[in-house]
């Protein structure tokens, strides 16, 4: 697996879909490919958010700590991004993410990611656009559950 295949994966992430290939390559190059073995956590709920991860291969579980033990709330698969909210909002991790099977992920460092957003408005707009869409979806869901 090389930089080019990572760029292909990044392209599948909605947030990065419309970004120049050269930028994605820079993002991939400044990122770090990380292997997790099954059961190894990416991060735990409450940790400081220092990086986002794009899953290149494998699956991960998202769990919340509840009084009655960990509660699995979502599953992540290939080309999913996780942890990006933490680095954008500068808040601690809101959930625990654990590798379900051996995973290969691209780790995007918080500082580097913010540098890139700073430098390239196109990337910032893409991120905003994605966040706005999520907000809209949440609003829609709220409206649904209220009605």
């Amino acid at each position: 697996m090389t930089l080019d295949s990572e760029v292909q994966s990044l392209r599948q992430v909605p947030m990065f879909r419309d970004i120049d290939p050269a930028r994605l390559k820079l993002l991939a190059f400044t990122g770090e490919r990380v292997h997790f073995s099954a059961g190894q956590p990416f991060f735990r709920q409450g940790d400081a958010a220092d990086a986002a991860y794009v899953i290149l291969d494998g699956q991960a579980d998202v769990t919340l700590d509840t009084p009655s033990g960990p509660l699995k709330v979502a599953e992540l698969a290939r080309n999913d991004i996780v942890g990006e909210m933490g680095i954008l909002s500068d808040t601690p991790r809101s959930a625990t993410v654990t590798a379900a099977v051996p995973i290969v992920a691209l780790r995007i460092d918080k500082r580097v990611f913010l540098e890139l957003l700073n430098q390239f408005p196109q990337m910032s707009i893409a991120v905003m656009w994605e966040l706005a869409k999520r907000l809209e979806r949440t609003n829609a869901r709220l409206a649904q559950s209220n009605s």
């Binding site: 930089l3 080019d4 390559k25 990380v34 580097v112």
Partner: protein, 907 residues
């Protein structure tokens, strides 16, 4: 130091000066003779004056002297001389003249060397005196003294003074007598010519110094202006942060520009005067020969002067201006140097200094400072007169642990500084054991009292050197002077008032510290570091440190053992994939291509960065391994990617520095290389371009950079080239610049950590670094190596001002430095500011326990921190109150009244 430079010089160099005087006086007869001789050459030999009476031959070089009357008079002839003809006489006299020239030259040489040595010795003494005086600056002086200015004074400004010192007395004597001799000679030959010469000299002597005085005044202004410029630049550099934060660059530029203009103006005026003086000097020098030829020639034609005399007078006159000019120079220098000296002395006035006797008594009085601490009507005010501590008296027994608290006001800290004698401007009396604090000798105070302030002063050097800084008070055992070099060093030191102590002497009193040697002291240091929670830091420094297989063979052996143990432990825990070991026969995927090829650690620049790509041995190995083209192609592929992804980043962007193979400013050049590759292919590149591409390829690490540029064939070829490289390197001039990896040996050039791992932690495995380091730590413990590693860590270089340490580490070094000297009194003033709340409490408790039988004074934030202290002094603004007394003090109403008396004056 004396107010007058001349007195200072005379006081310390009388003997040498007199010796040089003697040589000067001895040289004069020879000088006079050398002036006289041309006359004889012209008159007797050339014009044949000696052969007038038909003599074909004369006797030459008769050595004889007249006997004094007392012994009957007459002449004793020691040598009857050679009998020579006219030509013989000419050559004989000329040879004699040459000999005299040589003798005069030799005298000059001897005098100059003696002067030089004298000047250098006095310069050394002067510099040392100034430095020793600097050490005596009072704390309040130190607040206003600029370090850069003091350094400039000691280094640069005394330099011309030193140059002058050798000349101070000798030069006027030497030149004056020489000029007088020449003048006398001229006068003897012809009174008119003599008066003429004297008149010109007189004019020169009156006008020139006056003009130069103006020049000097300007020079003095220039010196002050340029010193201020230096100080101002240093201030701006120190405060650069503020300059940028407030965008004051334009303001500061204007300020410096202004100063530079002022300097320019001064310098230009100095030039104008200087060249005017030169002009007049030259004019006078040129006019006199004219007069001599004209008037002297006239007198010769008239028969009042013979040709020989004229030639000799002209010769003598030619000798006159240089000494005179130098004499005038000397006079100017004298004024100049006296001004400089006065200015320097201004900076070191006695009222800025701690009295000398506080320093002097260090040997005699060295008892402990265990005694009651008391203050009587103590009042402290800041420089503007507002009170820092209002009138306050107290008396506390020894041992005592005193807490000083205040609501963030300066009171507690001021009192702490007064007690540690870091603040000496106060009214009233402070006593320790009944002795006035101000009169306790510096040496005794320094050994038995410790003060940890908020800004620790660390010096460049190792951690260890900084920790034991307070233990090196004076040599406890001097090494014997061995060899002529050491004896000469001692002699020179004694002659110039410098210390004879040597840094190599034994400075640490191990006995007093209760240890046997330096190794034992290391143990004490580590123990102290452990108590303030710094041991882990030192361990980490140790892992970054280097182990010399030469100097520490035992440790080196254990490191190799630990290396093997680490490997097996990792395997047992199923973690062997986290570290890829260096294997002479295999490609290490986690290391760069260059590292795989060299398979060692560079010691010098020949095998780092670009040097690696142009090194002939590397090139040869690559050529013979048929790798060159492949690697250049890899370099080209890297360039392609780099130029593609970094093109739009502005130069200097942090991502460039962190990630790019290519510097921002080199990017365009690499783009040009790519264009040439596209046009003509890789083969057509010149050597320089190929080297640059090769350098990129050598830095490439596949799992980290992920450009997919390596395959098995290349990996094998690189391992094969490694063998060729080793063979080529062996015996080449670069062999010592590379420390090769050997599984059974320690690599001296690599940090201890690398030596333990002897491989690379795999890229891209989550958490690999910390997991491996945990195993390393376990293995180190298992083999009992931890303390050894920590001792290596004590050699960690802390950088200028300790900048390579974190703030809490600097504070820790400061604390340990204070504690290892086992003070009777320890004043802690903000020394824990760099620590977190929890750790500060922990350290404070440790100190309280350690000082149960000594005196501990701590400035604390609030009363809550004062738990466990025997006494508590609380400040409300500048008003202090003794709120808690030691439990041993008698209780009850009487005691309270007594305490109120003791603490009186604040009600």
């Amino acid at each position: 130091m004396d107010k007058s430079l001349f007195r200072y010089i005379w006081r310390f160099s009388k003997r040498e000066q007199l010796a040089i005087f003697a040589v000067v006086i001895a040289s004069l007869p020879f000088y006079f003779w050398s002036l006289e001789l041309p006359k004889r050459i012209v008159n007797e030999a050339i014009q044949g004056g000696a052969f007038t009476e038909g003599n074909g031959e004369v006797r030459f070089f008769i050595i004889s002297f007249d006997l004094p009357r007392l012994m009957g008079g007459g002449t004793v002839e020691l040598f009857e001389g050679f009998s020579v003809d006219q030509l013989g006489l000419l050559f004989g006299l000329s040879t004699l003249f040459l000999t005299l020239v040589l003798i005069n030259g030799a005298f000059k040489y001897v005098i100059n060397v003696a002067k030089g040595a004298l000047g250098e010795r006095m310069l050394r003494r002067l510099r040392f005196d100034l430095f020793a005086t600097t050490l005596r600056f009072t704390p309040s002086t130190l607040r206003t003294v600029k370090s850069s200015e003091t350094a400039t004074i000691i280094k640069d400004e005394v330099e011309p003074i030193g140059g002058f010192i050798g000349d101070a007395f000798v030069q006027p004597l030497f030149l004056g007598t020489q000029a007088a001799t020449a003048m006398a000679f001229i006068l003897i030959q012809n009174i008119w010519l003599g008066l003429l010469a004297a008149a010109v000299v007189g004019v020169q002597f009156v006008i020139i110094p006056r003009m130069r005085r103006v020049q000097l005044r300007l020079g003095k202004e220039r010196q002050i202006a340029s010193r201020k410029l230096a100080g101002r630049i240093a201030e701006i550099v120190d405060g650069m942060e503020a300059v940028h934060v407030h965008d004051a660059t334009a303001w500061e530029k204007a300020e410096i520009g202004d100063r530079l203009h002022h300097l320019f103006d001064l310098r230009f005026r100095i030039y104008k005067w200087k060249f005017m003086v030169k002009f007049i000097n030259n004019l006078l020098a040129q006019i006199t020969p004219f007069l001599f030829y004209a008037i002297g020639g006239y007198l010769a034609l008239k028969g009042q002067l013979d040709i020989g005399q004229l030639v000799a007078v002209i010769g003598a006159y030619r000798d006159l201006p240089p000494p005179l000019k130098e004499l005038i120079d000397w006079d100017q220098q004298r004024l100049d140097v006296q001004i400089k000296y006065d200015q320097i002395i201004q900076q070191f006035l006695p009222d800025k200094l701690v009295p000398l006797d506080v320093f002097a008594a260090r040997e005699k009085e060295d008892g402990p400072l265990a005694g009651p601490i008391a203050a009587e009507r103590l009042r402290v005010a800041d420089p503007h007169g507002s009170p820092l501590v209002e009138e306050f008296s107290f008396e506390l027994p020894f041992p005592v642990r005193i807490a000083l608290i205040g609501n963030g006001g300066p009171g507690p800290s001021t009192l702490a500084r007064v007690l540690a004698r870091r603040h000496d401007e106060y009214a009233g009396r402070v006593t320790i054991g009944g002795r006035d604090l101000g009169r306790i000798p510096e040496g005794q105070l320094g050994r038995h009292l410790a003060y940890a302030g908020p800004e620790p002063a660390l010096f460049p050097g190792s951690l260890r050197e900084n920790l034991i800084y307070g233990l090196r008070n004076r040599p406890v055992r001097r090494l014997p002077d061995e060899g002529p070099q050491a004896r000469r060093r001692r002699m020179e030191a004694e002659r110039t008032g410098n210390p004879v102590d040597r840094l190599e002497d034994e400075w640490i009193d191990y006995e007093r510290l209760g240890v046997e040697d330096a190794d034992g002291l290391d143990g004490v240091l580590l123990g102290a570091l452990g108590r303030i929670g710094m041991r882990e830091d030192v361990y980490r420094f140790g892992l970054l440190g280097r182990v010399s297989s030469q100097r520490m063979p035992d440790l080196a052996e254990k490191v190799v053992e630990a290396r093997h143990r680490l490997r097996s432990t990792l395997a047992e825990q199923g973690l062997e994939n986290l570290v890829e070991p260096f294997d002479p026969g295999r490609y290490n995927a986690q290391a760069s291509i260059g590292e795989n090829l060299l398979f060692g650690v560079a010691v010098g620049p020949a095998f780092t960065g670009r040097g690696r790509a142009v090194n002939p041995v590397v090139r040869k190995a690559l050529d013979r391994g048929a790798l060159m083209d492949d690697l250049v192609a890899i370099g080209a592929r890297i360039t392609e990617t780099m130029t593609e992804i970094f093109r739009d980043l502005p130069p200097g962007h942090p991502l460039f520095e962190q990630f790019s193979f290519i510097d921002a400013d080199e990017l365009p050049e690499f783009e040009d290389i790519l264009r040439r590759v596209a046009a003509k292919g890789l083969k057509a590149l010149n050597g320089e371009d190929r080297s640059r591409l090769l350098a990129l390829a050598l830095d490439y690490i596949e799992p980290r950079h992920r450009l997919g540029l390596l395959d098995d064939r290349l990996r094998q070829a690189i391992v094969a080239a490694r063998v060729i490289f080793r063979k080529e390197l062996d015996g080449s001039i670069w062999a010592r610049q590379l420390d090769l990896y050997d599984p059974e040996l320690v690599c001296d050039a690599a940090p201890l950590r690398e030596n333990l791992l002897f491989g690379r932690i795999a890229h891209g495995i989550a958490d690999a670094q910390s997991r491996v380091m945990r195993v390393v730590s376990a293995v180190v413990d298992e083999l009992g190596l931890r303390e050894e590693v920590e001792k290596v860590g004590l050699g960690f270089q802390v950088g200028p001002g300790g900048r390579l340490l974190a703030p809490h580490q600097r504070a820790g070094v400061n604390l340990v430095r204070c504690l290892v000297k086992k003070p009777d009194i320890f004043v802690l003033d903000g020394g824990l500011a760099a620590y977190g709340e929890e750790q500060a409490r922990h350290i404070r408790e440790g100190l309280l326990a350690a000082f149960e039988n000594r005196c501990f004074v701590a400035v604390l934030r609030d009363e809550g921190q004062a738990e466990g202290f025997d006494a508590l002094i609380a400040f409300d603004g500048a008003r202090a109150e003794l709120r808690r007394r030691p439990a041993t003090a008698p209780e009850g109403e009487d005691a309270d009244a007594a305490a109120a008396n003791v603490a009186g004056g604040h009600g």
